[in-house]
Every structure is written in C-alpha cells, then in structure tokens.
C-alpha cells in the first residue's frame, strides 16, 4: 500500500493511501485518505475487509493506532466501509461519521465499540483540534445518502465516488492529461450517478468552494486547473445512462 502526503502545515496533514500491490485482482482499487491534526486522525473511506491489514499497516507507519479517533464513510458501499468490524476491534475510542440514512445498514458490518455519528442531510462540521472539516452533501452521487469532506484551509475536497476512474493498480496518483482521463471516468459516472438534477446542484455548490485538490475514492487526484475542467465536464455529462461494460 502506497502512502503519499498531499498537504502539510503546522496544524495538520493529508495523506492518501492506495495502489496496493497485494490487492486481490478482482476487487476494485480504492484510495483512502487520512487527516492528522495535533492529537487526532480522521480516516476517510477506510476501505473493505480485503484491504484491512495493508491499510492498518500503512496507517501505523504514520500515526499510532490510538490516534485514529474518527472515521468517515461517505456512504454505505462495501469498498468504503466493510472493514468496519475489524476497525471496531482495532480502535479503542473512535467515532464514525456517516450519513444518518445508512446507520442501520452500516452497523451490519459489525460495530460494537465505535460510536456512530449520523451526518444530517444538510451536512455538518468536524473539528479536529484546530482544524475544521466540512461534510458537504453529495446525495445521489451516487448513493442516496452521500457526503464529501472539504478542508477550507488545505483547499482539498475528498469527493468520494465523484471524479472516480477505473484505473490499473499501478496508475499514477495524479491526473496528468485530463482529456485522456475522460475515457476512464465516463462510464463510471454515467452508470453509477443516477440524477442530473443532483449532479448539477452539486456542481453549482462546489464551484463556490476554493479547491486546489479534488480527491476521489478511485482513480487519480485532480489538481489546480483540472478541478475546474472536471466540474465543466461533469456539468455537461448526461448521467443515469445505461452504459456498456468496460
């Protein structure tokens, strides 16, 4: 599992974990993100059961396990949070932030110790020491209860499945040629995202945020001008379309 620092200042750091070389072939590759402040860490979309050992191994290279006090699951999918039952045994004092809508479902992954903090539909904030993170609504993109995480200070948007691409496991971490990248994103967005109305509303709201990096849960990270390119492309894309298999 590779780990790459995306941002660092006095308050906090952002790290992306992904491109696991030992990942079983038939499971989709995922990116996991971690924000670490002075005393706390937030693990975002920590991944599936199959990735747990690799993920925990990568995390404790960066921070002690006890420092992970918060988890975030953008929605209920297995590649997002099916490792919950194992994190539940590994973490001594942690809270999972996830859409209120999915609590009864996500608990099926096994949760006896971790506390569930349901995020209301309109979104909310999480303060990690001196760092304030915003849970931005992204409902129906693709899940009916779905959030992104925005860090106004680092200017990073963790966008979950929005911006996701089907990539090879050894693909670079950042988008280098946006036009060439479109082919890897198009079917994913058309097929998984069900609502043009929800999509356009999200684009309108996200355009108002100051974003230097947009970090999806699959594929590559968008930087600088590629963020705007993505928003333009996504706005013009018709979604809810039955596409063919890759």
């Amino acid at each position: 599992m590779k780990a790459e620092k995306l941002y660092e200042n006095n308050d906090h750091t952002w790290i992306v974990f992904g491109r696991d070389e030992d990942k079983p072939d038939l499971i989709i590759d995922t990116n996991q993100y971690m924000v670490t402040s002075k005393k706390n860490s937030l693990l975002m979309d920590p991944g599936g059961v199959e990735l747990f050992s690799a993920m925990l191994s990568a995390v404790i290279k960066e921070v002690p396990a006890q420092k992970i006090t918060h988890l975030f699951a953008s929605h209920q999918d297995p590649d997002i949070i099916s490792s919950l039952g194992l994190w539940d045994l590994a973490l001594t004092d942690a809270t999972l932030h996830s859409p209120w809508l999915w609590e009864g479902y996500i608990r099926h992954f096994g949760m006896q110790h971790i506390e569930y903090e349901g995020i209301p539909d309109e979104g909310s904030r999480l303060t990690l020491d001196e760092v304030v993170l915003e849970f931005i609504p992204a409902h129906y993109l693709h899940s009916s209860g779905n959030f992104n995480v925005y860090d106004p200070k680092a200017k990073i948007l963790m966008s979950g499945d929005i911006g996701a691409a089907m990539e090879e496991p050894d693909a670079p971490m950042f988008v280098e040629d946006f036009d060439a990248h479109i082919g890897k994103m198009k079917m994913f967005h058309q097929r998984w995202m069900p609502s043009n109305k929800a999509k356009n509303d999200w684009v309108r709201r996200v355009r108002q945020l100051d974003i230097e990096m947009m970090c999806p849960q699959h594929g590559r990270i968008f930087r600088g001008a590629d963020v705007k390119r993505f928003l333009d492309w996504f706005e013009n894309l018709e979604v809810g379309v039955l596409g063919g298999r890759r």
Partner: protein, 201 residues
C-alpha cells in the same frame, strides 16, 4: 441424512435447525399419545392395559419436546458464539498480517494493547464456547437415552394391542408403529447433531 458440515459456525446452525425439526416431530408424538388415549376409551375394558402406556408416550413426548427446545436454544447461542469467535480469530489473523507487513514501523507498538485485548477476548470466548459444547453434549446424551425407551414402549404397545380384540387391534398396532417411527426420526436428528458437535470441538 444431510452431509456433516466442515465449518464450525455452520455446524452450530445445523444443530439448531435439526433440533427445531426434532421439536416439531416430538409434538407429533404427543398427538399420537392423545389419539391412543381416545382409542383406549372407545375400546373400553379390552384395551385397559393400553391406557398406562399412553401416559408413558405423553411423558416421552414432553421430555423430548422440552429437551429438543433446550438443545435448540443452546445450539442457537453456540451459533452466535461461533460467529463471534470467527470474528475474533480473523481479527487476530489480520493483526498478525499487520505485524508482518509493518515490521519496523515506528508506531507498531501502538497495536499491542488491541492485540492483547482481542487475544484475551478470544480466550474467554473459547472457554465459554467449550462449556456450551459440554452442556450441549450432555443434553444430547440425555435425550438419546430417553429415546431408547421408545423401543420398549413399542413392544409393550404391541403386546397390549394383541389383547385388545380385532376391532381395535390394527389401530393400536398403528400407535405402536408411530411411536417407533417418530422416535427413530428424532434419533436421526440427535445422531446428526452429535456428529456436528465433533466439528465444534
């Protein structure tokens, strides 16, 4: 008879299912006893010797129903414990993999408490699990012992039926056959369950 399961939490669930079936079959034994009692009343003096036997069939039915329910409940608890044990076992397996993969990591020690706690939980679960298996074995043995009396009951029923006169003889013989068949069906569930217990241990 279904194939014996090779997976311990499936084995526990299978015992629960088999004993649930055994309970339903044992309830049929109660019905047989009630029918036999009605028959002996109609037959009057000619079937007087059969009456105490219907009490014995009722008693066998009550014991079997109550034991089957008890075993079913133990197996259901065992099934839940087996899943919990599986979770603990697999968590330790994942943690062991972390120790291998993260050798030399500066925060590897931060997992020690979690590892020890999970290991302790696994040990406690194992002790409780073994106690439940022992309890289950004793209950299965007890009900199997009770079912042995069904053979004797059948023979006694046949003897009494032979003295009851032609009108009721077939019906009373039928009761004797029913007692044996039902007891045999329950016994099959018990034998299967005992084989499954071997997987649980």
């Amino acid at each position: 008879m279904s194939e014996v399961s090779s997976n311990y939490f499936v084995a526990a669930a299978s015992i629960a299912a088999k004993l649930d079936y055994a309970t339903k079959v044992a309830q049929r034994l109660s019905l047989t006893a009630s029918n036999a009692r009605a028959l002996t009343l109609r037959a009057g003096q000619s079937a007087a010797g059969f009456r105490p036997l219907t009490d014995a069939i009722h008693r066998l039915s009550d014991i079997t129903v109550s034991s089957s329910k008890k075993i079913n409940a133990i197996a259901a608890v065992l099934s839940r414990m087996a899943v919990e044990k599986y979770r603990s076992d697999s968590a330790l397996k994942y943690f062991d993999a972390v120790y291998l993969q993260a050798q030399g990591s500066r925060h590897l020690d931060s997992l020690s408490d979690v590892y020890e706690r999970t290991k302790l939980k696994q040990k406690e679960l194992m002790t409780q699990y073994q106690q439940k298996i022992q309890q289950l074995t004793q209950e299965l043995e007890a009900v199997e012992g009770e079912l042995r009396s069904a053979v004797v009951l059948k023979v006694l029923c046949q003897i009494e039926a032979s003295q009851a006169g032609a009108t009721y003889q077939d019906a009373l013989n039928n009761v004797a056959e029913n007692v044996e068949n039902i007891a045999e069906t329950i016994k099959e569930q018990i034998v299967f369950s005992r084989q499954q217990v071997a997987i649980l241990q």
